[in-house]
Symmetry: C2
Subunit: 355 residues, 2 copies
């Protein structure tokens, strides 16, 4: 069994502004360690999978920064997409390039900017899921047992076990992001979160794409390996030809060949600065600090000082972020509204350096 | 009548940290305009008094920065005190140097870091007080009509008018900083705040010092002009010889020769970052901004961005200060506690650059 990570790193999240910028989105930020989220993502897979086996799909302008963030990966395995086309064309492309890798090859698609702990449990779940995917020629989704009635994620309704005693179950249905009441019902019913993590033999995914997304399959025909003559032009043509569609809509919700393995690791998509305070190390007063801070009578506060010192007295449940050019302050419950600031900055004449 | 400002600029206030530092105390900060508070103080006196007539007493290590802040003053009129000895030795020294300036000379002692508005009313009050000081050979204090029962200031109990129809009154007593109940009583009784602003013919002050602070008077004898041979050594000896005592204790509370003129200008000593929000320009939501800020749903907040951008969402009644190396955040009602942060920093090994 040879596992090939396919890391989707095309995000442009604005919720970690001012640390995140156009040229340095969330996956390139050192939010949980001194390395980028992307480097953390690959490090978690070692020693199960060497970084050199991974493929990363990102935006073309981000490719140099991505290569710098994960130097262990051959440069041509970092694909700079000439335009954003959502996840299905990216997954199809990686499957195409991997499909000659041998009968024991399994691709594992992973987001590049989530928190997963502990890493050894993730590796163990990946091994189990890869085994099932190979044995059953199936797409196996890692389903996250929910910890709250979240309305921001899609859900997976699990069906019967694939075999007596197996943790893997059939997928009865994928459920789109629910309203609050429906989310509570899903959680009570034992549905799982869809965190965009799935495993498959490359040929299995290509077959599903041929069945359910024939425009994408057609665009793949004749695509050369990265680095081969004409590869760059071929990539341009491919992204110009394919529809913009997620792998969930294009394949997962249509295939009858999807299984789900309930994950045993802790997962968080780190949707905002406030989430750092939920998952990071906290002091006795519940403050989470990255960088240099001086706190006096402070509680529940998330501090991220990329440079310089953040000093605070008497603050409660705030987010305070300091970069070389911006200081952000907001209550943790308003952390999502950072996007409103970014939107306003976009309208300002001399603000492009801050975006 | 020739008016000679004597500006006391030796303060080391820590309440405007992180903008204020050891080498750049409050009087050198551009808190109310694009100039330092000290430069504002002198600018308010023009055209009544040219800056070249002023004397400034400051700490020796601050003298170069003070000279740079007020280039219109001859360098030798900026006195760098070799050690801090409170206000009486400084006032005595300036009086000594000014006492040969002529029979129409009046010194006006002013703090260097207060807010006074409007400037033309200040000048008019100074002219009136100087006239009274000359005519009556007295020390005339400018008393501030209180706007609240403040416990942080000393009070002046005014007696009878010096003449029918005159605004100037005798000082019945100086009152030390009161407790809350006493302060309320003082305000109700019409007592005035002592803001450390007073005028006198230099000979009058020297006479009072000889009577009430003979050690200081003795140390003055033979003191050469600044810049004269031996002046620097003489200054060292003087400051080594005099007691550390305020002009209030040394002279004002003892003399029978003090008058008070109720001021007609608005005054604020800007005791903390929060005070900027009380006196500065405010937007419709009550925010006071200096520097570059991006505020969304913010109210009552004081922002001072020395460099970079301060962005905030959903904040209420905060102080947010950004300098090149520090960000400070605190509720306005905790602005006095900034000193606690400075105290803690003093105990940190690698923090001296931040102090």
């Amino acid at each position: 069994m040879r596992i090939h990570p396919v890391i989707l790193a095309g995000g442009r999240g604005e919720r970690f502004w001012p640390l995140s910028r156009r040229a340095r989105p969330k996956q390139l930020l050192p939010l949980l360690s001194d390395r980028s989220m992307l480097a953390d993502t690959l490090a978690r897979l070692e020693p199960l999978v060497p970084a050199s086996a991974a493929w990363i799909l990102t935006a073309r302008d981000l490719a140099p920064a991505v290569r710098a963030a994960v130097p262990g990966i051959p440069a041509q395995q970092v694909i700079g997409e000439p335009q954003g086309r959502n996840t299905a064309p990216a997954v199809a492309l990686a499957s195409w390039w991997l499909h000659g890798s041998g009968a024991d090859a399994v691709a594992v698609v992973l987001p590049s900017d989530h928190r997963i702990e502990p890493a050894n449990v993730l590796r163990s779940d990946i091994e189990d899921a890869a085994q099932v995917a190979l044995e059953r020629s199936a797409i196996v989704v890692l389903g996250i047992p929910p910890t709250r009635a979240e309305t921001g994620y899609g859900y997976i309704e699990a069906g019967e076990a694939v075999a007596p005693g197996s943790r893997a179950r059939r997928v009865a249905a994928f459920r789109e992001k629910p309203d609050r009441a429906t989310a509570a019902r899903y959680v009570a019913a034992g549905h799982l979160w869809n965190a965009g993590m799935f495993l498959f033999p490359p040929e299995v995914m290509l077959r599903e794409i041929r069945s359910h997304a024939p425009e994408i399959a057609a665009a793949l025909e004749g695509m050369p390996e990265p680095g081969a003559p004409g590869a760059e032009r071929a990539l341009e043509r491919y992204y110009a030809a394919v529809p913009s569609i997620s792998i969930d809509y294009a394949v997962m919700e249509r295939t009858r060949n999807a299984l789900v393995l309930p994950a045993r690791f802790a997962w968080d998509d780190l949707g905002s600065w406030s989430a750092l305070g939920d998952v990071g190390e906290r002091d006795a007063a519940g403050n989470t600090v990255r960088g240099r801070a001086l706190l006096e009578d402070a509680s529940g506060t998330v501090v991220f000082a990329e440079e310089g010192l953040v000093a605070a007295v008497g603050v409660r449940d705030l987010v305070i972020v300091r970069t070389g050019d911006v200081t952000l302050v907001c209550p943790r419950e308003r952390a999502q509204d950072v996007r409103a600031l970014v939107e306003r900055l976009k309208g300002e004449a001399d603000a492009s350096a801050l975006l």
